[in-house]
């Protein structure tokens, strides 16, 4: 948190001004205001508007990050003006002047005001953003399992500010893409057990060439969102339910692409790139390359392939046969596939619901050598064969400090027990076990009408 008792300072900012009706080109307008560093970019704009130039266009209302009106770009990144402290904004300014622009991917109406109706709201309407109730509607309220409601709460946290739409990189080249905000809204109903149209919704979004498979997986919307809605994560869940539970085979190669990568890694352990295109177009089989769709695509890629081969970039042997991991390891990988994919319920650890259960700082982000020592030795180690013991190197490698390695000798027994995990109820409060065949997840199951 920023300190709140710092005296006022001078902050300079420039606003991108544009009035499409004036016929003039956009220009930059610079102002300097005096405010405490914890004040917001919005307050700076409003002060300038009040004192220097009343014609600056900005939309705002609540000033506390709840109404979603004041989405702008600050130093090139999407943000709520009211939710960005001046001191933080100054840090991100390359030349000491905070840069404020209208959001992207939407037409500018005036200065910092963009046309949300023309893009954002139109896309939200596209996904039928209301509940289509299962019949018969119960006389009293629907009862829904708690986890299901917490799950859709993440998308309900959306305040429709348009920050994710502004910086969607797929929309930048393909304006017709339904986009992150609307697709997150779609999940809000797809994930709701009271909704009657899960298959229809997903089929619609999968078959649309600018639907769920048009997302480039760039994480822009994840970072843009001021409310942690994780739109891209919701799009991936829409894909997962569409392909796994409903087996929707779309015309955009989305399902086939997923099946191709998942299948190739099962068969080879590594990605066999040359097989990826034919299988994505023609289906998950070695014979896919002889299908018309794959043939056409391969033909159009032929100049690229030939060039690659001529340069020695593509090794013909690898291009044809692919590369594999050693036989025993491939078997181990396939055993993992068999075990995980044969579970009755697909298992999904949703950190939004579960949170982190330990004081674990041990992610990629953590500086090395700060491995927490208090972690319990809860991980089963089976029989702990000699080759899985921590390295003998005493020079202080991280691995030697891993919990269970030094401080907590590994338990020879699986302390958690096998059945508990398989049943999925062990983690019931922590993770959401998603049922196959979403349509069967009827209101009856959770409703106790």
């Amino acid at each position: 948190m920023a300190e709140t008792h710092k005296p006022p300072e001078q902050f300079s900012f420039r606003v991108r001004r544009y009035d499409p009706e004036s016929g003039e080109a956009p220009y930059w307008d610079e102002h300097t205001v005096e405010l405490e560093p914890h004040r917001s970019v919005l307050e700076a704009i409003l002060q300038a508007k009040d004192r220097f130039d009343g014609s600056i266009g900005i939309r705002c209302s609540c000033r506390q990050a709840i109404c979603g009106s004041c989405g702008v770009r600050v130093n090139g990144e999407p943000a709520l003006a009211c939710h960005t402290h001046l001191d933080a904004a100054l840090k991100g300014a390359s030349d000491g002047v905070i840069e404020i622009e209208p959001m992207g991917n939407m037409p500018v109406l005036k200065d910092l005001i963009v046309d949300m109706d023309a893009v954002h709201w139109k896309k939200v309407h596209r996904v039928t953003p209301w509940l289509i109730a299962k019949q018969p509607v119960p006389e009293r309220e629907y009862l829904v399992p708690h986890e299901n409601m917490v799950d859709v709460t993440q998308t309900m946290a959306c305040i429709q500010c348009g920050a994710c739409v502004s910086d969607c990189l797929a929309m930048e080249v393909d304006p017709g893409f339904i986009g992150p905000a609307a697709l997150a809204k779609a999940y809000r109903f797809v994930g709701d057990p009271r909704d009657d149209q899960q298959f229809e919704r997903l089929n619609d979004l999968a078959q649309d060439p600018q639907g769920i498979f048009d997302c480039t997986h760039c994480f822009k919307c994840v970072d843009a969102c001021p409310k942690d809605v994780n739109p891209m994560g919701q799009i991936m869940r829409l894909r997962r339910i569409a392909t796994n539970d409903h087996h929707i085979v779309d015309q955009n190669n989305g399902e086939r692409h997923e099946a191709a990568i998942t299948g190739l890694i099962r068969n080879y352990g590594l990605l066999h790139e040359a097989e990826l295109i034919p299988r994505s177009y023609g289906g998950n089989s070695w014979f896919a390359k002889f299908t018309p769709a794959a043939g056409k695509e391969l033909l159009s890629s032929l100049p690229v392939i030939v060039r690659g081969l001529l340069r020695g970039k593509l090794n013909p042997k690898i291009a044809i046969f692919g590369h594999k991991i050693p036989k025993d390891d491939l078997k181990a990988v396939q055993a993992i596939y068999d075990k995980v994919e044969s579970r009755e319920q697909r298992f999904e650890l949703n950190l939004y619901i579960a949170g982190e259960d330990e004081e674990q700082g041990a992610q990629a982000s953590a500086p090395r050598g700060e491995t927490p020592s208090g972690a319990e030795a809860s991980a089963p180690r089976g029989e702990t064969p000699s080759d899985s013991t921590p390295p003998a190197d005493p020079s202080g490698s991280d691995y030697a400090e891993a919990p269970g390695g030094v401080e907590n000798p590994p338990s020879p027994q699986d302390p958690t027990g096998e059945g508990e995990i398989e049943a999925g109820d062990a983690a019931g409060s922590q993770a959401q076990a998603r049922e196959p065949g979403g349509d069967e997840r009827s209101a009856g199951e959770g409703s106790e009408q």
Binding site: F213, H323, I325, D393
Partner: protein, 306 residues
């Protein structure tokens, strides 16, 4: 330093020059690579999209193999996409001991187990955080003077910021800039440097995918970059291998060479373009750039005869 080295699939398949150049550069930086040749593909986010637990288990297996490499200080990868996919799985694995136990139970058949505390860094992060820019600078034999280099990061290594540990102390989304400077080159900023290359949708929406690649390459051309450098082989596929098609998609000539990060480092450390596989690219850096004038010999006594 000794590292458990995960090269990824594409660096050994369609961009063999990446794996090859890393092998050449490592000894010059005193990095000992212990290759994780038993590990499988990270799934590039697609397996996680299909079944999260499957992706988490496959990657936990890789982490467990890395933890077995005696004396290794950390795990290193040379692929932004691997970094992103692995960080995502590691985040879930590290968040819950129950979940970890469930995953480890599947791995137990092979006698493997993943314990928290594994550090996994892309070569780019390792250069800045482990080797250090000063040390890197001191090893430069041929500074990349007069070479105008545009960084291309790849999405998976810059977003999401929290998961990747990007903050004021670790400005990992600026590291490519810092490395180019340390090697003596000139950094060229352009609009697309942290945007998406389009590769993930190449089979789903080819036109949009190629437009993305073409647009960013075009931005770099307009900013007068001599070449781009990327830590991601999948970006390289769309930016280099597909560049002729990207040119058609955006209707302009591009001719923009794209180097892998170890190639750029290798050049500055004194290796020859050919040894770094630079003649294997679709857009040949060797024919587009006059390396003899772009790369000026260093005071440390560079070998001659480029």
């Amino acid at each position: 330093m000794k590292v458990a080295y995960w090269p990824g699939c594409v660096s050994r398949g369609f961009t063999p020059e990446l794996h090859g150049s890393m092998a050449k550069v490592a000894p010059l930086l005193d990095i000992e690579l212990v290759e994780l040749d038993r590990a499988c593909c990270t799934g590039a986010g697609v397996i996680a999209e299909h079944n999260q637990e499957l992706a988490d288990t496959l990657n936990a297996r890789t982490f467990a193999l890395a933890q077995q490499v005696g004396g290794a200080e950390l795990m290193m990868n040379i692929c932004s996409t691997c970094q992103g996919a692995q960080s995502e799985c590691q985040e879930r694995l590290d968040a819950s001991s129950d979940y970890r136990a469930q995953i480890n139970e599947t791995l137990a058949g092979e006698g493997l187990s993943y314990e928290t505390g594994l550090t996994n860094k892309n070569f780019l992060w390792l250069l800045v955080e482990e080797i250090g820019l000063d040390e890197l600078r001191s090893r430069v034999r041929r500074p990349l003077s007069n070479l105008r280099v545009g960084p291309f990061y790849g999405c998976y290594i810059v977003r999401p910021r929290t998961r990747l540990g990007i903050d004021d102390e670790h400005p990992r989304d600026d590291y490519l800039h810092m490395v180019i400077e340390a090697l003596g080159g000139t950094v060229i900023d352009y609009a697309g440097m942290r945007k998406c290359c389009g590769f993930p949708i190449i089979t789903m929406n080819k036109e949009a995918s190629l437009k993305q690649a073409g647009r960013h390459l075009g931005d770099a051309v307009d900013a007068e970059a001599d070449c781009l450098v990327t830590p991601c082989p999948l970006c390289h596929l769309n930016l280099d291998l597909q560049q002729p098609l990207a040119e058609k998609a955006v209707g302009r000539e591009l001719d923009m060479p794209v180097l892998h990060l170890p190639q750029l480092v290798g050049l500055a450390l004194g290796l020859e373009p050919k040894d770094l596989g630079m003649s294997r690219h679709v857009v040949r850096p060797t024919s587009v750039i006059d390396w003899s004038s772009s790369v000026v010999g260093a005071a440390a006594g560079a070998s001659s005869g480029w």
